[in-house]
Every structure is written in C-alpha cells, then in structure tokens.
C-alpha cells in the first residue's frame, strides 16, 4: 500500500484538472449552423437555455459567432457570454452548401480533436446557407433536437442517409468509397430532412433526391425499413420494406471493370390504388413492378454517379479494394475515371410477404 500511494499520486499528474468544468459555466450547444465566407466562419449556435422552459423541455437561445476559424469563433462566444460553449451534447451540425462545396475537412478535424464532441454527432448539408435553416426554427425552442430526430427517422426510412460523424469520417478515410450526408432543406411548411449530399473527398459535388437516396442506401446495405412507392397517380402502390439485402461482386480487368449488384427486397403491401385484391396473379405483378422500379432507379442512380457527379458513392471501389487488392493497385490511383467506365448492373428480386387483410 505504501508503495502504491506515490504511484497513485503520480498518476494524478498525468491528467489535467483543467478538464474540470461545472455545468453552470457551460453553454450546452444543442445545434450548430456553419457557414464559411471570405472573413472566416459564421456560426449560429442554438444554446439549450435551462433557465427557461421546464426541466424536461428547456428553452433555447441563439448565439451568432464569427471568427477566422471554428475554434476562434467559439472562443469569441465564450468571451461574450462568459461561458464555454460545450459541444458534448450537440445534436445536429448543419453545414452550408457553399461551405460544403469548399471542403469540410477542417470542420471534421475540429470535431474529432475536440474531446467533448460525440462521434455520433449528426451532420447534414443545407440548401443555401445553413443559418437560414436554423433561423427558420428560431421560434422552435428545440429546433436542433427536432432536426436530429427527423434525421434519425429519415435515416431509418431511407429518405436520407443516417450518417453520424464517425461513419462519414470512416468513409472519408476508406479507399474506394465517397461519403454522403443527409440534406436539409427549407420549404413553406418547415424544415425537412430528405435526400443525400454526395461528396468527393471532402467537397460537395451533387445531390440525390429521396427515391435515388433510398436506392443508394439499398445498394449499400444501409436500408432496413421504409416505404417503397411505385407507379404514380391513381395507380401508385406502396410497400412497406421489411428487409433489404444487397450483394456486390466487383472485378474484371483494369480496362473492363464490372460490378454486379444482387438486391433482395422483402415487402408488404401497404396501399394499392386498385381494389385491394391480392391473389397470386396480382402478387406476381406487384413483385415484378417493385423489382422493375428499383432496377430502373438503380440504373438512374448509376448514371448520376458515373456520368454527372463522377463519384463512387456506391462503394464499388471499396469492394475491389477489399476483395481484389491486385486489381485495386492498378485502378485505384485513377479510380474516379475508372468508376465512370465501370459496367454496373443490378438484379433485383422482390418478394411480397403475406397479403395482410384484403377487402375480400
């Protein structure tokens, strides 16, 4: 024991009492909008105001900050309020469109190096300036909480990718795949999380709408539920997605790359524009319709990724990198152009479970 005490005392020197912060001395940042301009960063922070509202539903106040870097902007805030901005419970960070086009590596680096920040932090890319999205929600005392919940929900149903910080960083660092983030947009009836923002390295290069985002998530194996709607108008049919799996086989020669996706969907009929009858013939028809629609969307997705954005958000390169390292050595250095020339096909199988209750 006598030998242990000096050792324990020594161990105490290895950590800093500087980490000590009382809750009273912190501003709990619920959400953050980040825009970058010529004069540096403009931040709009939503601070959970525990002095307002009730214990379980605190109010919010808004704090606009500006600085040459994120750290400086946040420090400027501390100088103004006397409190340290605390990012440990930040629910959502929205990055402005122009900021994302300019690259977000410095942003990611800041979040990773800040010890308080959770790596499960949700990030999204806005249409236009990020501050506009939050300003829309200034009347809402919990805009960041609502947005974070909406992002989670959109991720679960395939409307937008569920892409916490750690997963985006992992994609960013991985070979043969590019990162995606959910999109946030403002419309007359509020703020919506839908669609995917496509990144090449750390720069925004394009967007996908909700249907293509869902297809992308199917192909990447990131979708487990949601609603698949096929057809349109009076003939629209909706299915609940009960399960979705995707297998990828990628390979070929350096000048003739090929990737084949096998997507299997398990669906339940949710709403039909017809009479509600679900006999064997109708079931087969619906299964073919669902498979055909997903295949068509997949082909559209591939055209967008290969020809328009020229970015491998599907992760075909990652498959080659993992399963055929020799081939990757040859195609990896010029993967962006190689991906555009890759022949990508998909086989989609859809199976409808049961019939549920029918009108008959």
């Amino acid at each position: 024991m006598k030998k242990l005490l000096p050792l324990a005392a020594l161990c105490l020197l290895l950590c800093g009492c500087g980490d000590y912060r009382e809750l009273d001395s912190r501003d709990i940042v619920a959400g953050m909008a980040v825009d970058r301009g010529g004069d540096g960063y403009h931040l709009l922070l939503e601070i959970a105001d525990v002095t307002a509202g009730s214990d379980d539903n605190p109010g919010a106040r808004w704090l606009g900050l500006q600085g040459a870097s994120l750290a400086e902007a946040i420090e400027n805030g501390a100088g103004g309020t006397g409190r340290q901005a605390y990012l440990g419970h930040t629910q959502m960070v929205i990055v402005g469109e122009e900021t994302a086009r300019g690259g977000i590596d410095d942003l990611l680096g800041y979040f990773q190096r800040t010890a308080d920040v959770h790596m499960t932090l949700a990030m999204a890319v806005s249409e236009g300036e990020a501050a506009d999205i939050y300003q829309q929600g200034e009347a809402d005392p919990q805009a960041a909480f609502d947005l974070a919940r909406a992002a989670v929900q959109a991720g679960e149903t395939g409307l937008a990718p569920a892409m916490p910080l750690y997963r985006f960083v992992a994609d960013r660092l991985d070979e043969g795949v590019e990162g995606i983030l959910p999109c946030v947009s403002r419309s007359g009836d509020g703020v919506h999380v839908a669609g995917a923002a496509l990144f090449r390295d750390d720069k925004l290069v394009g967007r996908l709408d909700g249907d293509l985002t869902q297809t992308l998530l199917m192909a990447r194996g990131l979708l487990s539920q949601g609603v698949l709607t096929v057809g349109g108008g009076e003939n629209a049919v909706s299915f609940e997605i009960r399960a979705c799996s995707a297998r990828v086989q990628a390979g070929g020669r350096p000048d003739d790359l090929e990737a084949r996706y096998d997507i299997a969907l398990t669906l339940e009929l949710s709403q039909s524009g017809l009479d509600g009858r679900l006999d064997a013939e109708r079931r087969a028809e619906y299964e073919q319709l669902a498979a055909r629609t997903v295949k068509e969307r997949f082909e559209t997705l591939c055209r967008v990724l290969q020809d328009v954005c020229r970015v491998d958000s599907l992760g075909v390169g990652r498959q080659i990198h993992r399963r055929n390292p020799d081939l990757w050595e040859q195609v990896g250095p010029g993967w962006d152009s190689a991906f555009s020339g890759c022949r990508i096909t998909a086989q989609v199988d859809a199976a409808i479970l049961g019939g549920g209750r029918s009108l008959e």
Binding site: M1, Y20, I28, H89
Partner: protein, 481 residues
C-alpha cells in the same frame, strides 16, 4: 500478604482496604457454642443475592451444630454448614478482594488463616432481548447481554459438545475484566488460535470496558477502515462461526462478542441468510454487495460525470440536472460534501436520540430540511437524491459503515481532481489494499483456499445446506467426521 489467623486483624485489613466504601457490608455471626462474633461475613451491597446470604449462609451458621473436637473449623463450615453451590478456601488477599467485588461473599473465621469464598452473585442484569443492530424477520431472537456467564450459557446451549472450549482469562490491570476465549477443539485452526492467544497476552491496559478495547489492540491493519475482527451480539451467529472454525472472545460487561479471523465476505453476510431459502438469501447478499459498491461509488461517479464527463450523460438527463443546478452557488464537490456531512449529522443525531424523537428528527431532517435546502438553492434536487441514495445503500451494510464513509470521501477527493480516472485509481488502490490485508493469517478477500476450489459454498451466495460438505469450509482443516 496472606490472611491472618487473628480475626480482628482480618477485619481491620478489610476495613482499611475498603475505607470510605459504603457498599462493603460486614456481618458478624456467632454460631452456637462459639465465641461472640467468631465468624465475619463480607460482601458488596448490590452485587449479591441477599436471600442466598440469609438462607444459605447466615441461617445455617446460627443453627449449626458445633464442630467435632479437633476438626478444621473452616473445612467444617465449607463442607457441613454453608449451603451455597460454590465454596472454596483462599488465603490470597487479591483473590479474596476480586471475588468479593464480583459478588461473592467472604467468610472469615476466628483462628483460621484462610477465608471461605461463597458464591452469592446476584447483581442486576438486563434481560435477554433481540439486538437492535442485528434484527431478523425469521430465526432466533436471542441476543447477548452484559453478563458473560449468561452469554456463555447461551452459546453452550447451542453447542452441546465437550469439544467446545471456554478458556477464561482476565484483561485490564484495574478493571480485571473476565474474558472467555471460545472455540471448538479440532475444528478451530490451531495457528489462528495460537495467534489469538499470543496477541491477547500483549493486551496491557488499565480497563477493558468493552470488547472493542481488545479488538483495537489485537487486530491486524490498525490503520485500515476495514475491520479484521468480526463482531456480533447474536449467540446463533457465534455458534455458526465457531462451527466454521473461528475463535470467539467474550468480554464481561458487553454483549458484543469478537470473532476471529474476520474477513470481508462476513460483512455482507446476515444471520437471516441461513434462516430463509437459499435463493432469496443469494439475492439479498448480492444486493448487500451492490449496496456497498453503490454507497461508495454513486456520489463520486455523479460528481465525475457532472464536472469532467458531462458528455456521458444522456442529453435529457443533463439538461434536467443543469436546470436543477441553476442558482446553486457551490461547486458540485462542495455541494456533495455539505450534504454528506448533513446526512451523517442527522444519522448520528438520530442514533443518539430516543427513538420517538429520532423519528421526528428523521422526518424534519429528511423531508423538511432537504426540500427547504433545494428551494433555497443551497443544493440541487438531483444531488439530494444522489446523497440520499448513497446514504441509504450505505445503511444496508452497517458493518462497513466507517469504511464506506472513509472510502467515499477518498474517492470524492480523487474524482474532484481527475474525474473517472481518479475514481478508477481509487478503486484499484482499494482492491490492492484489500488484497494485501490479512486477519490472523487469513486473507481478507478469502472465501476458500486455493486448493479447495469446490468450497465456495458460502461466499457470494449461500449454497443449500445439503451441499455444504466441508466442516468449517476454509478455516477448518478437517473434514466432517
């Protein structure tokens, strides 16, 4: 100096020894045919059974037949006259005085160089009742009292074998307190027994008024907050521990009996574990262990999370706590220390006050002062809850009360410097400390010898009695005969 043949000298000696002591009573008796005042009785008022003296000593003396010529008078009185159950001759003044102040009656006879020591003990004693600190819902309700003989009789009633040994010894140069070292011959470990005897020989103090006087002197690791000697007021517990191979020390004047060696697992055991179903006993014991862990850990972990690792808390909880802390002027550490001190003050006050007032005190302290402190922003409601939780869980294991207080304070000091890192250092140091401790040669963390891996029948949980094959488990070296 020995007893004089001249009775007047003996009387003068006694009066000199007990000068200004009105409790010493001198009674002269003249047996038929003897010179006037030939027999003198000395006894202490309040320590004797008066009826026994009247009926068994004075009455036979006044009605006796004269002894045959040439007979030893004292021997004649001892064997043919007095009717007490114990009588012996002694010529040693120290022995005589000790016996008299312990309730015996001394009989001096003219012309005899010895005196008779007659057993007339009859001092008032508290009745047998259930010990307050070790109450059970099922099982025996007997508890030890302050009289050692009665206590030993309660033990003897439970262990009716000649192998139960009760060695008497006297401790305290002034108090001359009677103690009894009890063990079951053939079950108790000889090394432990020898070590206990050896340490008891080193006890050198004026007065031994309670068993704790002895425990503090003979225990291992005197600086540790953990006790290395078990204590109990229940005869069934002492009997069980003797059967497990331990040694017990009874001290006259106290109901608290020491059992040695005392290891950590005993602190989590309750006598009720053996009087209810083993499944329920296992759950209860695990709860007690969890209670100890929570009692020492909840407050430090809460402080660490609040001040160093707020990101580990769920966001709604953090917001709720932050809201509750608004306006509290003290740092979390001071807030916790203040509330802990208040809790311990209330507990101490509740212990020292009569039970009726104690209940009122609990209500006033717990409800009124607690809620008033929160409303006045002296403390936050979550911290009051955490302190109350820690306090209540601490009360689950009364044998570790002092250890809980000391360890909790140490951990709070560590986490206030280093957060959870400090907490882990503290817990590692605590484990190392416990692992380094021994009680009379037995490891403090022991629950079975390494060579007998199958003997963990009564450690984390109690096995059914049918599966407890080994006598005395780890302390006894012998198998069941």
């Amino acid at each position: 100096m020995s007893v004089f043949t001249d009775l007047s000298q003996n009387v003068a000696r006694m009066q000199e020894l007990f000068d200004r002591d009105k409790t010493m009573i001198l009674r002269r008796v003249t047996p038929p045919g003897w010179p006037e005042g030939a027999v003198c009785l000395f006894f202490c008022d309040g320590m004797v059974n008066s009826t026994s003296i009247n009926e068994n000593i004075i009455r036979p003396l006044t009605l006796m037949q004269p002894p045959p010529k040439g007979a030893d008078r004292l021997r004649y009185l001892e064997e043919s006259v007095v009717q007490t159950n114990e009588a012996r001759q002694s010529g040693d003044w120290d022995d005589l005085i000790y016996s008299m102040v312990y309730g015996d009656t001394l009989l001096f006879c003219a012309g005899c160089d010895k005196a008779l020591v007659l057993n007339t003990k009859g001092f008032a004693m508290r009745g047998i009742s259930e010990p307050d600190g070790e109450t059970v819902l099922k099982g025996p309700r007997e508890g030890f009292t302050e009289g050692i003989l009665r206590n030993l009789s309660m033990l003897r009633r439970r262990l009716r074998v000649s192998e139960l040994k009760q060695e008497y010894l006297t401790l305290g140069t002034v108090s001359k307190t009677v103690c009894a070292l009890c063990y079951i011959d053939g079950v108790a470990d000889k090394k432990v027994l020898a070590e206990v005897r050896s340490r008891l020989k080193k006890v050198d103090m004026d007065g031994v008024l309670d068993s704790n006087y002895v425990a503090e002197v003979i225990r291992d690791h005197k600086e540790s907050p953990f006790k290395t000697i078990g204590t109990t007021e229940r005869p069934d517990v002492v009997a069980a521990k003797l059967l497990e191979g331990r040694v017990a020390l009874f001290v006259d004047g106290t109901p608290v009996v020491l059992t040695m060696p005392g290891i950590l697992i005993e602190s989590f055991q309750s006598s009720e574990d053996y009087y209810v179903g083993y499944q329920f006993a296992a759950v209860s014991r695990l709860l007690r262990m969890a209670g100890f862990f929570l009692a020492v850990s909840v407050v430090p972990i809460y402080i660490a999370l609040m001040t160093f690792h707020a990101e580990m808390l769920p966001t709604p909880l953090l917001l709720s706590i932050a809201s509750a802390r608004q306006g509290v002027p003290f740092p979390s550490v001071l807030e916790a220390l203040g509330l802990l001190t208040a809790f311990d003050l209330l507990r101490e006050a509740g212990t020292r006050t009569p039970s009726a007032i104690g209940q009122t005190l609990s209500i006033v302290g717990g409800l009124v002062v607690g809620s008033a402190a929160v409303e006045a922003r002296f403390a936050s409601a979550p911290m009051v809850i955490i302190i109350a939780f820690s306090g209540i869980t601490g009360l689950m294991i009364p044998k570790l009360k002092s250890a809980v207080i000391v360890i909790r304070l140490g951990l709070i000091a560590l986490v206030s410097c280093a957060g959870l890192y400090g907490y882990l250092i503290g817990m590692a140091a605590l484990l190392a400390h416990l692992a380094s401790m021994q009680s009379f040669g037995v490891n403090m963390l022991a629950s079975g010898p390494l060579s007998e891996m199958g003997s963990h029948e009564d450690s984390l949980a109690r096995a059914p009695f049918a599966r407890m094959k080994k006598r005395g488990r780890f302390l006894s070296r012998g198998d069941r005969p």
